[in-house]
Amino acid sequence: MAAFVLPFEKPVVDLVERVRELRVLSETDATLAPELARLEQETSRLARELFSDLTPIQKVQLSRHANRPYTLDYVKRLCTDFVELHGDRRFSDDPAIVGGLATYHGHSVVVVGHQKGRGTKENMKRNFGMPNPEGYRKAIRLYELADRFGLPILTFIDTPGAYPGIGAEERGQSEAIGAALAAMARVKVPIIASIVGEGGSGGALALGVANRVLVLEFGCYSVISPEGCAAILWKDGSRADEAAAALKVTAFDLLRLGIVEAVIDEPAGGAHQDYDEAARQLDAVLWPTLSALLALSPDALVDDRYDRFRRLGAFRS
């Protein structure tokens, strides 16, 4: 895939590249193994150090990174027997949301996720991961399918937001999102949402009313994009860096605010540097989280989800 490098990640990317080269060489030359191990450790230490003082807007940029793994990249690595299901049975099939049946650690599950495209052509098809109402209606159909057959639901959140277009309004974008929230609140199976990239507002939340919400280290979640917020507050979208800081959108902000249960470490340099490792790290938290939920009764799962969201808010009485 075409390498896309953000200015601030350049030093880390160079290191990761060296490790990759050395790894290839060490396959034929065993004497390189100690050097490889040393460099791997060093890279991971440096990457942590360099990325430890990224600004919020830089983390937002990482969450949108063009090389970042998307839903289907994770599904491929986490699951087997994936059968993609299409269409909302009402209007069309929205490629900005993918979903289907899969096996995860021996359990059949329903997966639903936003799907961005790789390159211009696929991005046009997938509308840059911005769903239309039919995407949310497909998601609702899959939530209800999961409910009927008692299958846990795994969602993957990665969208700039629901698509703001004329057709989307004509076909009821608002109703579709609202109905998706209601369907998620209602189903009697475990739901775990993983924010793997961008969590853009209501368009993300329509996959986010879960019993547990996980976020990758450089995932973000916000009520409005930093650019949109800056445009409203200061009539100046270029002040997105200030807005990103003010909105508290980073993974650790989300953890502190109680919006997510866990932050998943990413490989050195970010998930886009090593898809396999990113998936392994997600799996290491996702599976125990699902195992624990599988012990709950259907009604307890609904109550658990209700109580989780019922608590969220900051007010005094």
Binding site: A162, P164, R171, S201, S222, I224, A246, L312, G313
Partner: protein, 289 residues
């Protein structure tokens, strides 16, 4: 238009609007000059062209509720500042200013009331309070509205006028959409009616949560109702939007609301809907012949 023959004072001398622009107002629809008192007495509907001007929460109570009376619930809830948000002015200051300006504590009132003799749980957004935006307090009060209505066996009538989620509470305001809809979902399980009334404007996170989940969705004439703001859409698709886009009439054309109801008929219409939905057939009452 005809000038009113005589100004009938409807307020105390202490609060009357006595000078300049306060006495007369120009209709936003037909542009005619009207006596302010005449417009107010008609619940802000122009007697000449039927234009609906904004009616404040107080006006709506008087229009819909018996004796204009609301037994208000949870009146003391106030927002905190979880993000310590500042856009040059702090969120705390913005809330204080809004409270002073509107004499409301937050952007929604909820409570028990009667509508034409029918007991209901009632909620109304206060648009003048930070654009009716939904933060933690609004989300909490909507959740409580549905919870109490479910517990008390009451139908819910909720008037919405909101720009959407409250940016200054960040991601916590987004979570209010999920919280409120989850509470609505429990309420629905009790088979009690939710009449969702969409006023001007109903957009963003309020539109995209409970607004369209009414058993019956009612809109006011010409109300702006939609998910995305017009400017956002225009800048995304690089086209000018057609006239009437996202207005109530556009929504009924696209099947998103059940009806557009003028303010003068709102109380009677909601009453009839509630009667139908609350008139449950007793088991075994079906005719046997």
């Amino acid at each position: 238009m005809a000038w009113p023959e005589k100004q009938v004072p409807t307020t105390d001398a202490s609060e009357k609007v006595s000078f300049g622009a306060g006495v007369f107002r120009r209709c936003d629809g037909c542009g005619e000059t009207l006596a302010a008192t005449e417009l107010a007495a008609a619940f802000e509907v122009c007697p000449l062209c039927g234009q609906h001007h904004r009616l404040d929460a107080d006006g709506w109570r008087k229009l819909l509720l018996d004796d204009g009376a609301l037994d208000a619930w949870d009146t003391t809830l106030e927002p905190l500042d979880p993000l310590e948000f500042s856009d040059g002015k702090s969120y705390r200051d913005r809330v204080a200013i809004a409270q002073k300006k509107t004499k409301a504590r937050e952007a929604i009132d909820i409570g028990g009331a009667a509508l034409g003799g029918r007991p209901i749980a009632f909620g109304a957004f206060v648009f003048s309070f930070m654009g009716g935006s939904m933060g933690s307090v609004v989300g909490e009060k909507i959740a409580r509205l549905f919870e109490r209505a479910a517990a008390g066996g009451l139908p819910v009538v909720l008037l919405q006028a909101s720009g959407g989620a409250r940016m200054q509470e960040g991601i916590l305001s987004l979570m209010q959409m999920a919280k409120a809809v989850a509470a609505l979902e429990r309420f629905r399980a009790k088979r009690l009616p939710f009449v969702s009334v969409l006023l001007h404007p109903t957009t963003g996170g309020v539109a995209a949560s409970f607004a369209f989940l009414g058993d019956v969705n009612v809109a006011e004439p010409k109300a702006l109702i939609g998910f995305a703001g017009a400017r956002v859409i225009e800048s995304t698709i690089r086209q000018t939007l057609p006239p009437g886009f996202q207005r109530a009439e556009f929504l009924i054309d696209h099947g998103m609301v059940d009806m557009i109801v003028p303010r003068t008929e709102m109380k009677a219409t909601i009453g009839t809907v509630l009667d139908h939905l609350m008139r449950r057939q007793a088991p075994g009452s079906a005719p046997t012949a």
